[in-house]
């Protein structure tokens, strides 16, 4: 089986979906002739032409807004926002429209768009090139949020996202784009949205992460840890988490967004609401700090380190 990195796996998913369904179109800044600044859309212009691989002007709001209009007409647009730090000018279109068109039209219209964007740090990038603000999108109802952690799951989750009837924010960890390769089958397979996966079974502590943080968790956690890759951040897989907490009674949640009002808060609160009687220890969150994302020189201090994750796991195991 071919070994692909995440860039190649996502490229393959796009290619196969575009071959399968002529309604799938890609639009964004530099996605065409340049193949995307990370080369995720490389080769697609040559294969599908400028009407399906659309190089747009520098306008995030109309990139998402026009994707909505395309979806309403029956297309399946996959919009690329060049970096998550540049999705903010498009947030109005995402929050006010993509999320609400189904409700507003009482079901006459829906908004099956995917907004792909590289997110997260760890690559010493410029300002606003390392955002990890997934929680904002998880709070806005009507949107789904997905964040794959490996090439294999990236392909399967992207295919599911493209076919999903609702708008999906698809977060691609910049750090993982070329970090490693793994077996990625050619041809169709899907990974269902809304389901987490247990990466490692364990009995002592449940460690929950997604995207690039999952890999730090794998380095930090011992064999007795149950490691959950959340994969879909909203709606997230409560059941898998609760079952694991029942077993372990200890929870550590890891994300690279700042702590306050990060997605870790929701996961922790849900557990505190539903599973408190099973808890043996405080629910710990290992997150970026409550500070503005720093430039490269301080990045390593800001993002959760393997060490900080280890400490938290040891901490909860003391109980």
């Amino acid at each position: 089986m071919p070994k692909f990195n995440m860039v190649q796996a996502i490229n393959l998913a796009l290619k196969e979906e575009m071959q399968r369904d002529k309604n799938v179109v890609v639009l964004g800044e530099d996605v065409g002739v340049d193949g995307g600044v990370f080369r995720v859309t490389e080769g697609l212009l040559e294969q599908f032409g400028p009407e399906r691989i659309i190089d747009t002007p520098l306008s995030e709001s109309v990139i998402v807004g026009s994707a909505i209009g395309m979806a309403v007409y029956g297309l399946r647009p996959v919009a690329e926002i060049q970096f998550m730090g540049f999705i903010y000018p498009a947030i109005d279109q995402i929050f006010s429209h993509a999320a609400r068109i189904r409700a507003r039209s009482h079901g006459r219209y829906s908004c099956p768009i995917v907004v792909r964007t590289p997110y997260g740090g760890g690559v010493k990038a410029l300002e606003l090139h390392s955002e990890s603000t997934e929680a904002l999108f998880c709070h806005m109802q009507g949107i789904k949020v997905v964040a794959p952690s490996t090439p294999y799951f990236a392909k399967g989750l992207l295919i599911s996202s493209i076919r999903d009837p609702d708008p999906v924010i698809f977060l691609e960890a910049t750090r993982l784009y070329r970090l490693f390769r793994e077996d990625v089958p050619e041809g169709e397979y899907t990974i269902p949205l809304g389901k987490a996966r247990i990466v490692q079974e364990g009995s002592e502590v449940t460690v929950i992460a997604w995207g690039s943080m999952l890999h730090r968790v794998l380095q930090a956690a011992g064999p007795d840890a149950e490691i959950i890759d959340l994969m879909t951040l909203n709606p997230f897989d409560e059941e898998t988490i609760y079952q694991s907490v029942k077993k372990t009674g200890r929870v550590v949640i890891v994300h690279e967004a700042p702590k306050t009002c990060g997605l870790g808060a929701e996961i922790s609160a849900s557990i505190a609401e539903e599973m408190i009687l099973y808890l043996k220890a405080p629910i710990m969150r290992v997150t970026a700090y409550d500070a503005v994302v720093p430039l490269p020189k301080l990045e390593d201090y800001y993002i959760p380190s393997v060490d900080r994750i280890k400490k938290a796991i040891e901490e909860v195991k003391k109980y």
């Binding site: 309403v72 109005d92 006010s96 189904r102 507003r104």
Partner: protein, 351 residues
């Protein structure tokens, strides 16, 4: 080595039917007598709807409502020029457009009464629900136009917005996109001179709104927005150009908002009576009536019939709205996602 002109533009203004009911024959679009009567009847129907909505609001039977009074020619004249296959993306003040497109009137009341079912657009209509955030419908129209062009469908996409809407970033990004891809789209601005309390002059320093189109490489024109024939002609030409691959057009309908911004507003706080008086004389319905009278298309009796019919239709719609079974609270969950989330299923048990 020089300072030399490299580009220049001219913006034109179109006037066909004046306040005394006279027309410029050389510019008059081909409209049959029955077309003209249809248009007249739609103006009356829209005005009847408007008056009824305002009184329902006063009686607390619907919520806040934005009157279209004064803008009927801009709305009906433009919508009358569309084909059933064209797509329409209104702002929030286009009740006259919806009515002209044949949108069920009882559903409009239902919406203004705060019920989402009002904008479950009938499957045979290609229009979007109204859009509350100013200017944000423009990118949707642009996207639909892109999709139609991609599919090779010979349709036009039309979007409406106000003078205030021209100040939003989405106006700019949408117009630029339309220019770059030469999309089959017609942008219709109802310049009613006010954005709540902000006058047209305070909204932008450009002399006309029409001229903004040239910043995006396509044509803009200003038309007398109280003259149904000017609006119809400009729109008809623009949608045909769009369907024929000629690209986008921007039409500024120069009109006036006769009422308060909405029923929640009090326009006497910020605009002079004289201005309203002045515009009263420019009433779109009045001048059409005089024109039709001269042409022998209008009589007291005909007028009475049209009014009575309109009233019947509107009253019937109100009845239908108010006898509708209440909205199921579960619907707020049902229509958030394609399928319910586990959390929503738990929450629904609360209801």
């Amino acid at each position: 080595m020089s300072i030399r002109p490299i580009e220049s533009f001219t913006i034109s203004r179109l006037d066909i039917l004046d306040e005394k009911g006279n027309i410029d024959d050389s510019l008059m679009p081909p409209l049959s007598d029955s077309d003209i009567k249809k248009i007249y009847e739609l103006l009356v129907l829209s005005r009847t709807f408007d008056h009824t909505a305002l009184s329902l609001q006063r009686e607390g039977r619907i919520g806040t409502f934005p009157s279209i009074s004064g803008q009927e020619a801009s709305q009906i004249g433009s919508a009358f020029a569309l084909e059933k296959s064209d797509w329409v993306f209104p702002s929030f003040r286009e009740m006259g457009v919806y009515i002209t497109l044949g949108y069920p009137i009882h559903m409009l009341f239902l919406y203004w009464a705060g019920d989402e079912r009002g904008f479950r657009v009938p499957d045979d209509l290609n229009t979007f629900p109204l859009c509350v955030p100013v200017g944000t419908q423009i990118p949707h129209a642009v996207g639909t136009a892109t999709a139609a062009k991609f599919r090779g469908d010979k349709i036009a996409v039309v979007t409406y917005f106000g003078d205030g809407g021209t100040s939003e970033g989405d106006f700019h990004e949408g117009f630029n996109f339309a220019g770059v891809f030469r999309l089959p789209i017609v942008f219709i601005c109802q310049n009613n001179q006010w954005a709540i309390s902000v006058s047209r002059e305070k909204q932008t320093a450009s002399k006309t709104l029409a001229q903004k189109a040239f910043a995006y490489g396509f044509e803009g024109i200003q038309v007398d927005g109280n003259d149904v024939f000017s609006v119809y002609k400009a729109t008809k030409e623009a949608v045909e150009k769009a369907r024929g691959g000629g690209g986008p057009t921007f039409i500024e309908c120069f009109t006036y908002r006769m009422s308060d911004h909405t029923t929640a507003d009090d326009a006497t706080r910020y605009r002079p009576k004289e201005e309203i008086e002045l515009w009263k004389e420019r009433d779109p319905l009045l001048r059409l009536r005089i024109f039709m009278e001269k042409k022998g298309l209008w009589s007291e009796q005909y007028a009475r019939e049209v009014e009575e019919k309109s009233k019947k239709v509107v009253d019937e719609a109100v009845r239908k709205t108010e006898t509708r079974e209440p909205l199921d609270p579960k619907d707020m969950f049902t229509y958030t996602y394609g399928t319910l989330t586990s959390r929503q299923i738990k929450e629904m048990k609360d209801l």
